[in-house]
């Protein structure tokens, strides 16, 4: 027992970090009602800023040079000290100023425009910020991952701390004191100052605050600055005890911080501080002391630490139920209308042959020989991503349950199938074969999907009492826990550390439909066809669900759980059914990923890849099957992104950045996603094309012609000589035309003063 207490003190450092981060989450929530999933990224950026100031004396601004020219550039770096290092205190100050700037940016550019958005829209905004900051860090700080510099913290080691017989580094104590101080200051602020009172008032009743002369927007701004600065403090000071700096650093550590913030109901700073420190201590005790005991279950050894925040989060939320503060008086927009799928048969009849043509090419290989190499692989990736996104469409789009664990559920089915298909016989491809029953793939896949459904329903149980963004928090915690409890747990997977689980290729009556093509590349047209057919089947199933009574029940639950219950709908059953079906869909996606990759590792299913998948589904259109298909095409290393990086070699480093900006813009401007944007446009143009004759074309030419010519000229003579990448010239002209037309459309919109049709138009709200 004495040992346990000594180990608990070792957890003070990590605990203080969680506490500081939790405080920032609480502050941001008080100020704006947003659970800021990007909080860890702010800490990351501050830590990078500080360390690079100490390394080369330059301050990197949180954006990148987007101008494709050498002559005109956006300033990205400011040299503070040409001689190299910057003074520690100045560096701390600048890093905090940088976090404050990020806070200002998050308020004005993201969350203020999103203040009336549906909860999912805010989640997507936060994920967008996270991706953006990671992307900027990747570009601005490069891929070197320096060991962060420790600062100000006492370097002493207490040999026998408080007489418990274990050594303890002094910095842990320093961090703890800092966390407590920050907590005390903020607690006093919200309890007694006018600003704090007004913040709490605006959180409870915005109209009341406005009528008394307080601006909720300004209050939110200052709270964002405070929140971002606590993240900066945590990143700069605690960064040193958490290992090398990477752009994705702290993204996982946000989970325990969320747990701590939730213990404090997202409103109490002192409880959040205590909770954070507590979680840190419990984690250390578990990982160092309990796992060494003989009674501790063997299979839990590796995942226990990450399961703790999940357990704490689920318990707090489940016990508290609805008592978490909900921001008063904001009229929240609902999720966009979920369109009724029409002409499913036609879509299948056109899209499936199209997919097969893309796979095999046209007869005679004359015009088009089919996708091959990286193109084929990208197409497979897109198709499989679309399968995963169907699960988001069903769960988030139809039933309104924000689940971020779907990718991990796909991972569960993939890993389970891999183990079921394994037979323990080593081969040249798979020298470290794992033991297993060696079942044929259809049985293995079915079992995998069944297990995925079981896990999904289990994780759906908290959703019976936990709603909205809080459910998102639970599912993130679950995703992190699944990662270490299962995928990284060699006791369950039987994998050697670092090796992958092999997946034998699927066959149909002796025909190999695995993803390896005739040339040994992963581009088999048979597998592409397999994917197309599976995806088509899933689309038909989801569309039919939406059209039937189940779909009506789903939408009723999404709109209003109480009203649904009063109409005789069993809300609990409906939700669990949705979780079950969605997990089945995700399970299929997992199995197909396993077949495509032929071997799987835990890195395929890291939790923020799941967040990004959700965000891309949102980008495509979270409420429709078409949205899942578009989201699949847009997804990272899918068809469109591969096309983009093919055209411009440097683009791939910018992918997360562009994705982040795209998500934020979609959430703000067009919450229904791209599917809803394109569908009416396509329909309109289709009708127009059918009807258009010479005079109609002339009108368009007269209206847009001059701009097209201007754009062409601009592209040819304006941008072309300045270009920095080896983009081909015709592309620059196209870019010029698009740019001019885009600017024109904005100018026209501003001049006419017309406002964008948004999701709160009556027809859509009624859904």
């Amino acid at each position: 027992m004495k040992d346990a207490i000594a180990f608990a003190f070792l957890g003070l450092g990590a605990g203080s970090f969680f506490a500081l981060m939790a405080t920032g989450l609480v502050v941001a929530y008080k100020g704006s009602g947003v659970i800021n999933f990007a909080h860890g990224s702010v800490a990351m950026y501050a830590a990078f800023t500080f360390n690079y100031l100490r390394i080369d004396g330059r301050l990197r601004l949180p954006w990148v040079d987007i101008l494709p020219t050498h002559q005109v550039n956006l300033p990205v770096q400011i040299t503070i000290s040409s001689g190299g290092k910057v003074n520690v205190w100045l560096a701390v100050l600048l890093a905090l100023a940088m976090s404050a700037l990020l806070g200002v940016g998050m308020h004005y550019l993201v969350f203020r425009p999103l203040r009336n958005a549906a909860p999912l829209g805010k989640v997507i905004g936060a994920i967008g910020v996270m991706l953006y900051l990671q992307g900027v860090a990747l570009v601005n700080f490069g891929s070197e991952n320096p060991q962060p510099k420790s600062i100000l913290l006492p370097d002493t080691l207490f040999k026998n701390f408080l007489g418990f017989g274990k050594p303890m580094p002094g910095e842990n104590l320093g961090l703890f004191i800092m966390a407590v101080l920050v907590g005390a200051v903020l607690w006093f602020n919200y309890k007694y100052t006018r600003f704090g009172l007004a913040t709490r008032a605006a959180a409870g009743n915005e109209k009341g605050a406005v009528l008394l002369g307080y601006s909720p927007e300004r209050l939110a701004l200052f709270n964002w600055i405070i929140a971002a600065m606590t993240a900066g403090l945590a990143g700069v000071f605690v960064g040193s005890i958490t290992g090398a700096l990477t752009p994705t650093k702290f993204t996982t550590l946000i989970v325990p911080a969320l747990g701590a913030a939730l213990i404090g109901s997202l409103s109490s700073v002192p409880i959040a501080i205590a909770g954070g420190v507590g979680i840190g201590m419990i984690q250390t005790v578990t990982s160092t002391w309990m796992t060494g005991k003989s009674w501790f279950p063997d299979w839990l050894q590796s995942g226990a630490t990450d399961a703790i925040p999940l357990v704490i989060i689920v318990l707090t939320l489940f016990l508290r139920g609805k008592s978490l503060p909900i921001r008063g008086n904001i009229e929240e927009r609902r999720l966009p209308l979920s369109p009724y799928p029409k002409r499913i048969g036609w879509h299948v009849a056109i899209l499936v042959p199209l997919g097969v043509v893309l796979a095999y090419g046209l007869p005679g290989d004359f015009v088009f020989a089919g996708l091959s190499g990286k193109w084929s692989f990208a197409f497979m990736t897109s198709l499989i991503a679309a399968m995963l996104m169907l699960s988001y469409v069903l769960l988030a789009g139809y039933v309104g349950q924000i689940s971020m664990v779907q990718l991990s559920i796909a991972g569960v089915s993939a890993f389970f199938m891999a183990r079921m298909s394994a037979n323990g016989v080593p081969s040249p491809q798979d020298p470290f074969a794992v033991s297993g029953p060696g079942l044929p793939w259809p049985i293995g896949a079915t079992l995998g999907i069944i297990v995925a459904i079981a896990v999904g329903v289990l994780l759906g149980i908290p959703a019976l009492r936990i709603r909205g963004v809080q459910l998102a928090v639970v599912t993130i915690a679950a995703a992190v826990a699944l990662q270490t409890l299962y995928f990284d747990n060699s006791k369950l997977t039987n994998l050697m550390a670092g090796s992958n689980a092999a997946v034998p290729p699927p066959t149909f009556f002796g025909v190999d439909v695995g993803s390896t093509g005739p040339r040994g590349l992963t581009d088999s047209p048979k597998f592409v066809t397999f994917c197309v057919i599976v995806l088509a089947a899933m689309c038909v199933i989801v569309s039919n669900l939406r059209r039937g009574s189940t779909g009506r029940r789903f939408l009723a639950v999404r709109a209003n759980e109480r009203a649904a219950a009063s109409a005789g709908i069993d809300v609990a059953r409906t939700k669990l059914l949705a979780f079950g079906i969605a997990s089945g869909l995700a399970g299929v996606a997992g199995v197909m990923t396993a077949f495509q990759q032929q071997q799987i590792s835990s890195s395929n299913w890291v939790y923020f890849a799941g967040l990004i998948a959700l965000a891309f589904a949102y980008l495509g259109g979270i409420t429709s099957v078409a949205g899942a298909l578009i989201g699949g095409m847009l997804t990272g290393s899918g068809l469109i992104s591969v096309f983009g990086s093919h055209q411009s070699s440097g683009l791939h480093t910018y992918t997360p950045l562009i994705g982040g900006v795209g998500m934020i813009l979609t959430a703000i401007i067009h919450p229904s996603g791209q599917a809803m944007l394109f569908q009416p446009l396509l329909q309109y143009f289709g009708r127009w094309l059918k009807a258009a004759r010479v005079p109609e074309w002339l009108v368009v030419a007269r209206r847009l012609g001059p701009y097209v010519v201007l754009g062409l000229a601009l592209g040819a003579i304006g941008i072309n000589p300045w270009r920095t990448d080896e983009w081909s010239r015709p592309w620059m002209m196209l870019v010029g035309v698009l740019l001019v037309l885009f600017v024109r459309s904005i100018v026209v919109r501003i001049r006419s003063g017309g406002h964008e049709p948004s999701s709160d138009s009556p027809a859509e709200v009624s859904a």
């Binding site: 006018r194 009172l197 007004a198 709490r200 008032a201 959180a203 409870g204 009743n205 109209k207 009341g208 605050a209 406005v210 009528l211 008394l212 002369g213 307080y214 601006s215 503060p325 008063g328 008086n329």
Partner: protein, 239 residues
């Protein structure tokens, strides 16, 4: 003649570009209590929301305390010296009575202390409740708190929306004279929306009757009281 605090000329106001109130012209002078009467849906609350800047006028001129409110944020209008006791009371349920009042206070330390005292003097029933959370108060106490909070900023213009909503008549009878007292003692101009026509006219100097978004009648309290039948007809759609 005292200063005109609220001057509305030819106002059209409403939601999403669709007017609810049309061609309305009203004025409130300092030290005056003016009643805004009319049936449900007549546009009374819409008028008040436009006066305090929460709704933007569609057309017409709205001057409060000598300056326009169109294009001005509601918090700026409030800081000019306007207090709006909203129909839903807009209390901060998680904050204590004292904290609610504190948020209404203006000025330096002495002024704030004095205003707090004045507010609690007007509503002595609140004094023993200062540490209770506003969400735990009864309906009448909540209404008193809303009024007290509105007065704490020493407004020069006070808008009171349906003070009697959901309250027992006896409480309304007790609270209406306070409105009169505020106008007399502080010289504030008060525009109040009320459903209890008789009670409202008993404390008001003048009144306006709205019907279907348009001004149906106006006059002094005495005139309106003597035309009781006409007022009632406007409620029942007779005009």
């Amino acid at each position: 003649m005292s200063e005109t605090l609220i001057d509305v000329h030819d106002l059209s106001a409403g939601y999403g570009g669709i007017p609810v109130v049309r061609n309305l012209s009203i004025s409130v002078r300092a030290g005056e209590v003016v009643a805004l009467l009319g049936p449900n849906g007549a546009g009374k609350t819409t008028t008040l929301l436009t006066l305090s800047g929460i709704l933007q006028p569609i057309s017409g001129r709205v001057d409060v305390l000598g300056e326009t409110v169109s294009g001005v944020k509601p918090e700026k209008v409030a800081r000019r010296g306007l207090s709006h006791v909203a129909e839903d009371r807009s209390l901060f349920f998680d904050l204590s009575v004292k904290e609610n009042l504190r948020l209404g206070l203006r000025g330096d330390r002495n002024e704030r202390a004095a205003s707090m005292e004045v507010a609690l003097d007007l509503f002595p029933a609140l004094a023993p409740l200062v540490d209770r959370r506003a969400g735990l108060l009864s309906g009448g106490e909540q209404q008193m708190l809303a009024m007290a909070r509105g007065l704490a900023s020493r407004p020069r213009v006070l808008l009171v929306d349906e003070m009697s909503l959901g309250l027992a008549p006896i409480i309304v009878e007790r609270m209406l004279p306070i409105v009169r007292r505020i106008a007399d003692e502080t010289g504030a101009g008060i525009l109040m929306v009320e459903q209890h026509v008789g009670l409202a006219l008993s404390v008001a100097d003048r009144g306006y009757v709205l019907a279907h978004g348009e001004l149906a009648m106006e006059g002094t309290s005495a005139e309106l009281r003597s035309n009781r039948r006409l007022v009632e007809e406007s409620y029942l759609g007779g005009i």
